[in-house]
């Protein structure tokens, strides 16, 4: 086994880049984007058939102007519409934008941990306007809220740090909802028709994450 080294070119944070193909399996006309596109049709994209994310993450939306069902895209290959939807309700993507990710500091954090040093913190509440029972998550991915004793609906969300994606069902299934730093007072503010979230995970810039999971080794 040889040691796995990341190429030197990847030591610089890459600017967002996504290739959109009009047909499945990376066929047909190709359009590259490096920034937000509020209406793909205006940009000359007739149909989104497959997607290659060279540098991410991105979020796609069913409707123009970043509205409707949300689809989170991380770096990788998406050969068909069913590789980005969990609901299989719509095969349409009409707008796209890069997701801003706060890059982890390159040096280890000071051992003195303060509340401000948390990279990811989200609080989800049973009722609108941050009331009712709540579940608070810090620096972890949670595939099952029930496993942590939270079985209530989610009607409001407060993101104190980091970027997150919530899912309707356990194990990161069902409708996806992107949560960026800020307050979501009601489920309509995060684009949900039903106030149900049963799993949530962090969006990270894996190459730069100080506590990234990947340790090349022999």
């Amino acid at each position: 086994a040889s040691e796995h080294q990341m190429p030197a070119s990847k030591q610089q944070p890459a600017s967002p880049n996504i290739a959109i193909f009009e047909q499945e399996n990376f066929q047909g006309r190709c359009h590259e984007l490096s920034g937000a596109c509020p209406n793909l049709k205006d940009a000359g994209v007739d149909k989104v058939g497959s997607i290659l994310v060279h540098s991410g993450p991105w979020v796609g939306y069913e409707q123009a102007s970043c509205k409707g069902e949300q689809f989170v895209f991380e770096k990788g290959e998406y050969p068909r519409w069913d590789s980005w939807t969990n609901s299989r309700r719509s095969d349409s993507i009409t707008s796209l934008r890069p997701i801003k990710v706060v890059r982890a500091p390159r040096q280890p954090l000071p051992t003195r941990q303060t509340k401000d040093s948390q990279e990811h913190k989200i609080v989800l509440y049973e009722n609108p306007s941050f009331t009712g029972k709540k579940i608070e998550i810090i620096d972890d991915d949670v595939p099952s809220f029930h496993a942590h004793g939270y079985q209530e609906k989610v009607s409001s969300v407060r993101v104190q740090s980091g970027t997150w994606v919530g899912y309707q069902y356990p194990g990161y299934r069902g409708y996806q909802y992107l949560f960026e730093k800020g307050d979501y007072k009601d489920s309509s503010e995060f684009g949900a028709q039903h106030p149900q979230i049963q799993s949530v995970r962090r969006i990270r810039d894996m190459q730069w994450h100080q506590r990234g999971a990947y340790h090349p080794s022999n």
């Binding site: 989170v72 595939p143 809220f145 496993a147 356990p170 069902g174 340790h215 022999n218």
Partner: protein, 196 residues
């Protein structure tokens, strides 16, 4: 780190219904179900995982597409297979995942079969292997050191799922054939720990 305490629970429990949205005939299981038809359920169309982690299968005898199922409510097929490679509107066998230890999981992945080629080590969830710098979109073999993991064909835990357990054939998954009866290619773009 989670700020809530987990309720104490050592065992496994799944409640299944033969109609969607928790309707129709109901039955509780606390151990393996090799074949739902043999237990009087021609299909299972909704279920609730009350404790432990489980793995469900498309066909009887733990065959076909796999669905990793953690605690929660699964009212319709979209909830367990809406993100899979092709949708499966029933579940015909299931069993507990007994080795899941969310916080202390470790996995080695190899570029080629039989633990050959470049190697990487994971101890945390990874929604995009390409973003970590893993070249290509395929993995050749896995060695599960601890815990239970689920790897997926596409980023963000979508597409075919393959369950990897430390207590199944010593955690060794040398070849794509050993990942499951539905495994056709070594395409893997996301991997995560299973929540107990």
């Amino acid at each position: 780190m989670i700020q809530r305490r987990r309720p104490s629970s050592g065992l496994w429990k799944i409640v299944v219904w033969d109609e969607p949205f928790f309707q129709g005939k109901r039955h509780e299981f606390t151990t393996d179900c090799y074949s739902t038809p043999e237990r009087g359920f021609s299909t299972v169309r909704s279920f609730r995982i009350e404790s432990g982690a489980w793995v469900g299968f498309e066909h009887c005898g733990f065959q076909g597409q796999q669905f990793v199922l953690e605690r929660g409510e699964y009212p319709c097929w979209e909830a367990w297979s809406g993100s899979n490679a092709y949708h499966v509107d029933r579940m015909s066998s299931f069993r507990p995942i007994t080795c899941a230890v969310h916080g202390r999981s470790q996995l080695l992945l190899f570029e080629q079969e039989n633990f050959q080629g470049r190697r990487g080590e994971l101890s945390d969830d990874c929604p995009s292997l390409p973003a970590l710098g893993w070249g290509g979109s395929a993995v050749g073999s896995f060695l599960v050191c601890s815990g239970a993991w689920v790897c997926s064909q596409y980023p963000g835990y979508r597409g075919f799922q393959y369950l990897l357990e430390s207590d199944t054939h010593a955690g060794e998954y040398k070849h794509v054939r050993e990942w499951g009866s539905h495994a056709q290619t070594g395409q893997v773009q996301s991997i995560r720990r299973v929540q107990q």
